[in-house]
Structures are given as C-alpha cells and as structure tokens.
C-alpha cells in the first residue's frame, strides 16, 4: 500500500484548527481593527530578535499594517514558526509577505508557507530560497488536485450536522507520526490534505468516506468493546488491531451501504480506482443489525493468526488509545452491558464449545451487577461531589446575577468561534444615562437641517397618506356609490365612466416598533458624530408624526466588563426637548463590542407589542474591542447575536459607512439586511428612505 505511506508522509503540519477560506478571503483587503505600524514593528523585532536594522523592516511593516488584524496575526504566527527554523528565511519571507498574499488566494498562500517550512526542515535551503524569491511563480506550480481540509471542512461539518443534529467539530490532524483519521465522539480528526488521486474530486470523495467512516464508528459504538480490544491487543499485539480495524471498517461499510447508498457508491468508486481487491462483504448479513462484538466474533471465527486483508485507504484509527478518548455517557455505557472475554484460557470454555466455531473462543457474559468498564466506586463519589459543587456554584451565580440585574447591569453570553460554544455570562452590559452637559448653541437648527427635515417629512407623509380610503378605483372592496351615481347621471354615458366606481379601504394596519442602535465608538469622532446626531434627531422629530413606536439607544464600551448602552429615547417616552438634548450630548466613546449590544437591545425590543420589530444598527465599522474582540471572533459573535434576534422575530438591519463592509456584512447578516452608504452627508435622507422601505 505504497500510496498510503506516501500520503502519510506528505502530512507534516502540526495539529491546528484551520481558518476557513471564506472568512479569510473576506479579510484580505480589510484594514479596520488591524495593528498599527508601531505595534507590528515591535512584534516583528521580538520575533526576528534584531536580525536586521530597524530601518530595513519599515517598508514591509508599512505594507503589513494595511492588512486586516486576522491576516496580521496569521503572519506573526507563521513568522514565529519560520524563525524557529531559520531566522534569515523568516526575514526573507517577511519582505515578500504582503505582495505574496495579494497574488495568491489563502489556500495557495498557506501551501507556499508550508512548502518553505518543509524545505527548511529537510535542509533544502536552496529550494526554500527559490520558493521565497519566486513567490510569484508558486501558484502556477502547485498541484491543484490536492484537496485540503480547509476546502471541505465546512461542507462536511454541515453534512454531518444535517444527519445527527449534533455539532461534531471537524479538526485537522498531525499526520507526521503516520496517524490515521480518528474520532473522540465529539470531534472528527481528518488529514490536513489528501493527494492520493490525481484529481480534486476523487480526493474530496476520500475525505467524505473517511468522515462517514468515523460517523459510523460513533453511531455503531465501536468504543463499547474497548476492553475487549485492549485485551486482544495485549495478547496478540498489533496484528490483532490490524485485523480488527479492517473487519470493523467493513462492518461500518456495511452500515453505510444500508443507510447512505451514495457513500457506498463512493466507496466502490475508490476501490475501483485504487484496484483494491474485493472484500468479503457477505460476512455481515444484509438485514441483521450488527455490533462491534460481531466484528470480534468474526475475527475469532477466521482465526487470529492469519492475515488476509490489507488496510483500506479510508480506514480510521481503532487503537485502544484513540477509542478511549471517546466521551462516554451513561447511555452508551448502559447500552453495552455485554462483556466479552476472548481469553482462550478461560475456565468456562468446555469441550462442547470447541465443536461450535462461534463459541470456540468467544464467551459472552451478561453481568448486570458489574461496574461499567473502567469505573470504580471512587470516581462515582467524585461525580456526585462535583455535581453538588456545580449546583451550589450555579445557585450562587444565579443569585449574583439577580443582584447584578437590579443595578441596570446585565450579563450576556458571547460566542467563541475557536471553542465553538458560548461563554456564559461573559459580557456585562450597563445602561448609562446620558448627561445633558451641552451648550444650547450646539443644537440650534441650521438651514441645511431644515431642508433635510422637509424632505424626510415629505417621504414619511406618503406612509401617513397611505392609510386613507381611496375612491374612484377600478377595483376595490366596495362600490363607490358617488362615482356610480355620477357615471349614471352622465348623459353621454361613456363606458369609461363606469370603470372607476370602486372604493378601496386602506385601513391603517401598521404595527411597527423600531429601535435605532447608534454606534458611538471612538472612530466616529468629528464630523461623523455630528452627522449621526443630526440624522438621529431629524428622524426622531419626524417619526413623532407617525404612530410607530421607536426608541434610540447608543452603544460603545471598552472590554467585556464595560459594554455601555446609552438610552436616548425609550419606547414609552414621547419626543420632547429633553430627548433632543440627549441626542446632541452623545459623544464618541471607545470601542464597538457589537454582539453584547445587539443581544441587550434585542431583548429590549422584544418587549414591544408591535407586530413588526426592527433593530436598525447605524455603525461605521466592523466589531472591534480590546481583549481580542475583533477579526473572526468579533464577526462570528456578532453574526450569532444577529441570528439570536432574528429568532425573536426581530428584523435586524445595518446601515454602515464602512467601505469594506461588503467583506463581512453579507456573511454576518445576509444580503438583504444591510446597506452601505458612501456619502455620509446623505445619511438623514438615507435613513428615512430605508425606514420607509422596511416598514411598508
């Protein structure tokens, strides 16, 4: 099986969670939230340890400062990795990093770095130099048939979710030690890349089959025979494991054949293309449900000494150390009370048993009183103690939460993309009253504002007028008797006179609540802040003429413990001079931790009894906060927060001035839920136009 060995040898990258290309690509041109030149320079100097003079890296640092934060972080990680192998090569890569990332896509770029690392590791320094020097040629040379984990992980993960409704994380593995794919019951570990076949599609199918093999391993509870496999390995060594692995793979194939015929076709196709010999599929009955003990039983029937099967290319790792990593829940333990003893020396084997092939070497014993495999009394005590501790901790936490919430302070979870789970009670949101410390002269209406106000009123008047009876219609709810009488009394009685004799009753069925969430982070300082305030004020003035419920809140903050919300106008307040003062006293604050603000304002809006609820976010950039709330982390958390408010029947909408919003907003919100405005001076008109579109 030379191809397997070759394939394993190709995998040398350390285990890591891969950054998805869809996200990576979206940030290649982003600059918001990136590190400054000073910060970058310091970090690079620390990594390169003064290999060159400060002046010589400034050009590269300036270029790197234009990259997004996630790309900068990726660069620093890769530079660090390279510097451990060769400082001079790391320096050379730094010089061409920015131009190289501009001409290669994320996948090609990762391969390029990987190839350089490989060359340095194998002491082929000339090749490494050539790769760095001729970076512009690299994408022309790479093997496009290779399928990498990052290409397929997203689709496969969703595919598994559609079957199991459980979020099984897909991770890449370090195959430098010839590791096969394996699972721990909660995650599936697959190779970093596959190049067994000379075309991408077949390599992808191999990925898919590997994934389903591991899914089958979980669903068929291979790990329930862990003890027996351990005993087999102890007694017969790796030879037992080889045979068991192949037989168990065949059993899983048998299951896939029945449950997922498409995958079975893929398996047959792989066998055919790799000219793999026909396997004894018939060993498992077509109709019977099988268990891992059937595989063990088959080994016993066949005889442990013989070797008839080679391993399969998609075969996973069934070694006891990998199977023991499975998360054992009480259900799976209780589901396998049959303990198997394959000890040939067992005193319970009789002469008659020898005549029976199945029972010859296998003895099944149902031990209802036995402890679950590997468990003792002591851990049980620990479990109960831990449970009691957890309950106590939870109660204390809840009490603390209640105390907190009494003081206008609320705790919200946050989605951690790297952990793929929520961090509970992670962000503290505080509602802070706006201070009226402004000069009256600042809020004097100027002529330009009056012009905007007139236009907004005209636009919104159409909504108000839309609520009247419309007479002389060609079709409608009722006859317009007046129109009919007029037409009838017309002496000439043209047929046209009788066309418009209906009345349409457009009753006011509007039931709208809109909450404006205004980003007042530090980046809005200056003229942006002035226009935001003017727009908010104009809209609140004109909306007062409609019956729609509306509220205005501003948000900013610094760090997860200081997410600040500034109520400007609550739903139960009417527009008045006081509110005008609050609007004009809004000042740019610090950062934009958008997820927490959206969760809090979504909760506020949910309390409205209106039929249509809209969360209208006005912002100038992507989520950004200290404590690493930026890049993928910030975007993924904000995306989650928007999905949460959607689940509350709230329609989110984002109006942004960020020119790079197209890189991340479609992913965060979907194509129809945001608008990018290039000319901020038109903000007042834009807000009212969008408002009308959203609510009619």
């Amino acid at each position: 099986m030379k191809f397997i060995i070759d394939w394993f040898k190709k995998q040398v990258k350390p285990a890591q969670k891969v950054i998805r290309p869809s996200l990576l690509e979206s940030k290649q041109t982003g600059s918001c939230g990136g590190m400054s030149t000073t910060e970058l320079k310091i970090r690079i100097e620390l990594i390169l340890d003064g290999v060159k003079t400060k002046d010589s890296i400034m050009g590269s640092v300036t270029q790197l400062a234009g990259l997004s934060h996630s790309l900068q972080t990726q660069f620093l990680d890769q530079l660090s990795e390279l510097s451990e192998l060769s400082m001079s090569h790391a320096y050379s890569v730094m010089l061409v990093y920015t131009p190289s990332i501009k001409i290669m896509d994320s996948k090609e770029h990762s391969q390029w770095i990987e190839q350089i690392i490989l060359s340095i590791s194998s002491n082929q320094l000339d090749e490494a130099n050539s790769l760095i020097k001729n970076y512009s040629q690299f994408n022309l040379q790479i093997n496009r048939s290779t399928t990498s984990f990052s290409d397929v992980a997203d689709v496969l993960e969703k595919l598994i979710f559609s079957i199991t409704r459980q979020e099984l994380a897909l991770m890449s593995i370090d195959l430098s030690a010839n590791q096969r794919p394996y699972t721990n019951g909660k995650s599936i570990f697959l190779p970093e890349s596959i190049s067994v076949f000379d075309n991408y599609q077949d390599n992808y199918l191999l990925y898919k089959v590997m994934t389903f093999q591991l899914l089958g391993q979980i669903q068929l509870q291979t790990n329930s025979a862990l003890k027996d496999i351990e005993e087999g390995v102890t007694e017969y060594g790796d030879h037992f494991l080889d045979i068991f692995s192949t037989i168990e793979t065949l059993r899983i194939n048998h299951y896939l054949k029945k449950k997922f015929p498409g995958i079975w076709k893929n398996i047959l196709s792989i066998h055919e293309k790799l000219t793999i010999e026909t396997y004894p599929e018939h060993i498992f009955s077509d109709h019977a449900e099988t268990s891992v003990f059937d595989s063990l039983s088959w080994i016993k029937q066949f005889g442990i000494k013989q070797r008839i099967l080679d391993s399969l290319p998609y075969q996973s790792d069934f070694s006891p150390e990998k199977l023991s990593k499975h998360t054992v829940d009480s259900g799976s333990v209780q589901a396998s009370p049959i303990m198997m003893n394959i000890d040939k020396k067992s005193s319970e084997i009789t002469e008659d048993d020898d005549n029976n092939q199945t029972a010859e070497r296998i003895y099944f014993k149902h031990n209802s009183n036995s402890e679950p495999s590997g468990s003792t009394n002591q851990p049980d005590t620990d479990i109960w103690q831990n449970l009691a501790d957890n309950i106590e901790h939870h109660q204390a936490e809840q009490k603390s939460l209640r105390d907190e919430q009494k003081q206008n302070s609320y705790l919200y979870p946050e989605w951690d993309i790297s952990l793929k789970q929520y961090r509970n009670n992670w962000c503290r949101v505080e509602e802070i009253s706006t201070e009226h410390d402004i000069d009256e002269s600042q809020i004097t209406d100027d002529i330009e504002l009056k012009f905007f106000e007139k236009r907004i009123r005209k636009s919104l008047d159409l909504i108000i007028n839309d609520q009247k009876l419309i007479r002389n219609q060609a079709d409608g709810d009722d006859i317009d008797i007046d129109a009919w009488v007029a037409a009838s009394s017309n002496k000439t009685k043209h047929a046209d006179d009788f066309q418009n004799i209906y009345i349409r009753n457009n009753k006011n069925s509007r039931s709208v609540a809109i909450l404006f969430a205004v980003d007042i982070s530090g980046s809005t300082a200056g003229w942006k802040n002035k226009i935001i305030k003017q727009s908010t004020w104009l809209l609140s003035r004109t909306l007062a003429n409609l019956d729609d419920q509306y509220a205005i809140y501003a948000f900013s903050g610094a760090g997860r413990d200081h997410c600040h919300i500034y109520p400007v106008k609550k739903f139960d307040e009417n527009y008045n001079y006081d509110i005008k003062q609050r609007i004009f006293s809004l000042k740019p604050q610090q950062y934009t931790r958008m997820g927490a603000a959206i969760r809090h304002l979504g909760k506020t809006l949910k309390q409205s009894d209106a039929k249509t609820k809209i969360l209208f976010v006005l912002t100038d950039g992507k989520p950004d906060d200290i404590d690493s709330y930026r890049g993928d982390y910030g975007i993924e958390d904000t995306r989650r927060a928007f999905n949460e408010v959607k689940a509350l029947h709230i329609t989110p909408f984002v109006l942004t001035f960020d020119k790079e919003a197209m890189d991340y907003l479609p992913y965060m919100l979907g194509k129809k839920h945001f608008r990018l405005i290039s000319d901020i001076t038109m903000l007042p008109i834009q807000i009212s136009t969008i408002y009308k579109q959203l609510t009619t």
Partner: protein
C-alpha cells in the same frame, strides 16, 4: 332605478364542492377523532403545521368522510371582508348582492376552509368571530341581516406557525375560538408509506427520500427556512418513477425548490449525493 336586488338564488351546486373519491390520507395521530368530535360539537378547528405536511389533504379527507361540501379560500393580504362575506355588484341599472364563499358555506352547511389565514388582513379575520362562538351567526352588515349558520356548517382554518415573520400571526381573540390540531411531518415509517402510496415509487427508494428530507429539516435555521415537505417528496418521487435518476430528480425537486442560495444549494447537493 332598483338599487337593492337580492340575489338569493345562490344555493351552491353541491357537486362542485363535494369530494366524490376518497382522498388518500394516512392519520399520524388522533387528528381524525379530534376533528370528528369538534364537528359534532360545532367547534371550529385550527390546523397548524409546516407547509406540505398534509393539512389541506386532511380537510379533503374529512370532507369526503362526512359527505359535506368543502369550500376552500386561499387567503392573501388583499383579501377583504367583502371578499369573504359578499358584495353588491352592478347589473344593468341596479345593484345585486353576491354572496362570498363564507356566506355561501354558512347558508348551505358546508365546511369552509380558510387556508393560510395569517396571510389575510387582521380586520378581515375579525368577521369570523361571531361564527366561531356559540352564536354561530354571520352579520351581513350591508344587507342588514344576521345569517344563522346551518347546522352542518363548520369553519376550519390553517396556518404555518413556522414563518419567521412578525407581521404574520393570529390575534389571540381569534385563536382562542378554535381547537387546534398540530400537524408535523410524519414519522419516517408513515412518511415513507405516504410517499410510496402517492407516487408508486418502490418503498426502498421512498425510505431514502424520507431520510434526505429529515436531513434538510435538520438544517432549518442553518441556511434553510424550511426543510423538504412531504409534498416535495411526493413530487420528487413522481419524477424518479418517471425514469429520472434519483440525484437529478432530488436536485430539481428538492434542492432547487428549497433555496436560491448557492452555498446552501451545494450543501443540499452533497446531501443528495450522500443518500443516492
């Protein structure tokens, strides 16, 4: 000029509304018994469930079972009270009253089925309130009449509570006049039988179709608004029965019907290739 001619000769031609052949319907729980009891007690019925799960078919079956005419109104946001109750029309130099479908059902003792009631305007649905309590009357304001419902009259309506829209919901005062029957997609065994019965496709292939449908339903909220309905499965099964490759039929009948989003479509195609 005669301005108030009453068109009282609007007794319906029963054969138009009576269902003569037994529609295929496989009960999934006790919905038939509940409906029968509601009918006996003159209580209106609200059918709730996702699209294509068998609500309308159930109504056809019950109409056939009780031999009562079924008048179906597909509700939409332009549906007015006049569209339901009736209106004056102009005929020559006079106005004539024309009963709407609801009035027709009330007069003739039919089952009136308001399909997707939440699509109708809120002020429209209020007209059914006096019909849905023990009064069982329909006020015809323009005629100045209170129309007493015939003893056989039954009002049912349906809606899909899964729509993620705040504007599409029933008023509490409306929903509390009905007993509700919840419809969900049938369990695998039942759904497989339905698809087989409706399409004639071999059961083994129906099993795979149902598995695929369940996979799409698991994706609701993760790219899909709704999963594949039983109706979609039947359509797809018919395509396969006509000789299309299962993969092709599923892509046309399920994937492309469910979404326009390219990324989600790729995922659906992967699911199809996994199953077939």
């Amino acid at each position: 000029m005669n301005t108030n001619t009453m068109n009282t000769n609007t007794i319906i031609n029963n054969s138009e509304y009576i269902i003569h052949e037994e529609p295929y319907y496989l009960p999934t729980a006790n919905e038939v018994e509940i409906f029968n009891s509601a009918l006996a007690e003159n209580i209106p019925v609200l059918l709730k469930g996702p699209t294509g799960c068998g609500k309308t078919r159930f109504m056809e079956y019950m109409s056939w079972f009780h031999k009562r005419p079924l008048i179906t109104v597909s509700c939409h946001d332009d549906l007015t009270t006049s569209d339901l109750v009736g209106r004056y029309l102009i005929k020559n130099d006079s106005t004539v009253w024309q009963d709407g479908p609801l009035t027709t059902a009330v007069r003739n003792g039919c089952i009136c089925y308001l399909d997707e009631i939440v699509e109708a305007r809120k002020d429209t649905t209020v007209v059914i309130h006096p019909l849905c309590d023990d009064r069982r009357i329909l006020p015809l304001e323009k005629l100045g009449q209170l129309l007493k419902a015939a003893p056989e009259f039954c009002l049912t309506m349906s809606y899909n509570p899964g729509y993620q829209s705040a504007v599409k919901d029933l008023k509490p005062s409306t929903r509390q006049r009905f007993i509700a029957i919840n419809f969900a997609y049938p369990v695998e065994d039942v759904e497989k039988t339905i698809v087989h019965q409706e399409s004639g496709l071999p059961v083994e292939q129906c099993v795979h179709l149902v598995k695929l449908a369940n996979m799409t339903r698991n994706l609701v909220g993760n790219g899909l608004e709704e999963g594949a309905s039983t109706r979609l499965l039947v359509h797809t099964a018919k395509l396969i029965k006509r000789g299309f490759e299962p993969n092709v039929a599923c892509k046309c009948g399920i994937a492309d019907s469910l979404t326009d989003d390219d990324e989600t479509k790729i995922l659906l195609h992967e699911m199809i290739d996994t199953i077939f």
